[in-house]
């Protein structure tokens, strides 16, 4: 029997706040982080977004260190520091056995686009020597490794909007297999570049809604696309025995994980949801399914197709066992950080025994035959969370979290 993998620290910086306590309180109060957005140029139709709230990165880094990192890496370091500090990693951890798995979808593209603009405007010799180290997708994981002194395996799983969940799932496996003693796992994303908005707009993936209160509407009949979010989240994972030996508080258990692929289309989900069902089933089996009620933190983007396919898979696989919410109704879509922030949201829900509402959503669409929590957070007695993340490329990642005493 492999070791039980537990969570001993969490950190988050996102649209609901710059740290864990403020994020948790907004989550339960149903206060979303979606705000109006100015168009950046002609033809830019996106009027809402969900940037990080309440954070001044200059308070966290000296200026010189700051500009060595793209924003997605800065956010990752802030979140990882909080998680490490809450886990008490400063003491009693073997740095050579400390790993970092931090996912992202697009990494430091913003820095790359800025450098291209500089090249076009002023020529090759004015392109910053920091272009490559800020652009590279692994720069957040590497930045966290430098910051925490993590000398174990440090990598960046990339699976589009499933990256954060994949990172946590792979971290769980690393601990189970004894490949690391402690893993800082999560994701980060800051897709602020206008060209990224333009690309998503022309994919018809982003909502053109103008009212922040009615923009991110997972499973709603009026949903019209996702809202772009921004942020990072990190969990500290370790074997239960290791956590107990060093006297760390145990916040939850990462009990199961599975990832499948539609093998169907680069952006569109496969309509039957069969591969999503396979992921759910395999993750629950990995966790030792007890057949009890499951709180599902859905991928729930608010796009027509995602929500229809995901709801179909959840209804077919879990039926009445699932109490569903979409955190994206409050945070927008954090892409490669979404699964990490949603794992944190799931653990908060477990601790509080309340499922946060899918705010904004009023009336479920026809064919959405699942129990979605609407209005305000619902008190529910449950021991298991299933967090789902589905990404472009057909990635279906499912993570199972449990209460420590379960």
């Amino acid at each position: 029997m492999s070791a039980r993998v537990v969570v001993t620290g969490m950190g988050v910086v996102g649209p609901l706040g710059p740290d864990l306590p403020r994020t948790a309180s907004a989550l339960m109060a149903g206060e979303h982080g979606i705000v109006p957005r100015e168009a950046t140029s002609e033809g830019d139709d996106i009027r809402v977004h969900a940037p990080v709230r309440g954070l001044d990165v200059a308070e966290h880094f000296p200026r010189r260190e700051l500009h060595r990192m793209d924003r997605f890496a800065q956010l990752a370091v802030v979140a990882a520091r909080e998680a490490a500090s809450r886990a008490g990693l400063e003491e009693s951890v073997d740095r050579d056995r400390l790993a970092v798995l931090l996912g992202t979808a697009l990494g430091g593209v913003h820095s790359g686009f800025e450098a291209q603009q500089q090249l076009t405007a002023s020529g090759v010799r004015r392109v910053s020597p920091l272009t490559i180290p800020t652009m590279m997708g692994n720069s957040a994981a590497a930045g966290v490794a430098i910051d925490l002194g993590a000398g174990g395996e440090v990598v960046t799983p990339v699976a589009a909007c499933a990256s954060g969940t994949v990172a946590i799932g792979q971290a769980m496996r690393m601990i189970r297999h004894g490949e690391a003693e402690v893993v800082v796992a999560g994701g980060s994303e800051a897709m602020t570049a206008p060209v990224v908005y333009a690309g998503f707009q022309n994919l018809r993936a982003l909502t053109r809604a103008t009212d922040p209160d009615r923009a991110s509407l997972p499973f709603d009949r009026d949903r019209s696309g996702f809202v772009m979010g921004e942020g990072a989240a990190a969990l500290v994972l370790e074997a239960e025995d290791h956590a107990r030996a060093r006297g760390a508080a145990i916040l939850g258990v990462v009990a199961g994980y599975a990832c499948t692929d539609d093998a169907h289309h680069i952006t569109a989900p496969e309509e039957s949801g069969a591969a999503v069902q396979r992921a759910i089933r395999a993750a629950l089996r990995d966790a030792g399914d007890d057949g009890a009620l499951v709180h599902v933190n859905a991928h729930g983007t608010g796009t027509a197709l995602n929500d229809r396919v995901e709801a179909r898979a959840l209804a077919a696989e879990l039926g009445d066992r699932a109490v569903v919410t979409s955190t994206k109704s409050m945070t927008g879509h954090l892409a490669g950080a979404a699964g990490a922030l949603e794992a944190v949201a799931g653990l908060i829900a477990l601790q509080e025994q309340r499922v946060p509402a899918t705010v904004g959503t009023r009336q479920l669409d026809e064919g959405i035959d699942i129990d979605v929590v609407l209005g305000s957070a619902r008190a529910v007695a449950f021991s298991t969370v299933l967090s789902l993340s589905l990404g472009f490329g057909g990635h279906n990642a499912a993570l199972v979290l449990r209460r420590p005493e379960a």
């Binding site: 200026r63 010189r64 010799r125 004015r126 910053s128 180290p133």
Partner: protein, 76 residues
């Protein structure tokens, strides 16, 4: 570029009080690593119009200044 404006560029970049930087100091002693040196060179090129050559292996504040003066002289 005179030594005052040169030291201003270094102090600003290194976020170090100007009076702490002496011509004899090693660049590493004021917190400038290999990547910082590349950035500083770009700033100095912008300020002087000179084309600097980092392969020169400069390690002290004075050596970098001499190199800037030499190249700026060529540029003017």
């Amino acid at each position: 570029m005179d030594s005052d404006s040169y030291l201003d560029v270094l102090a600003d970049f290194a976020e170090t009080p100007r009076e702490r930087i002496t011509m004899e100091a090693e660049l590493a002693d004021i917190g400038l690593d290999s990547l910082s040196l590349l950035e500083i060179i770009m700033r100095l090129e912008t300020a002087t119009g000179a084309s600097l050559d980092v392969d020169q292996g400069v390690t002290t504040v004075q050596e970098l200044f001499d190199h800037v003066r030499e190249r700026a002289g060529e540029a003017s």
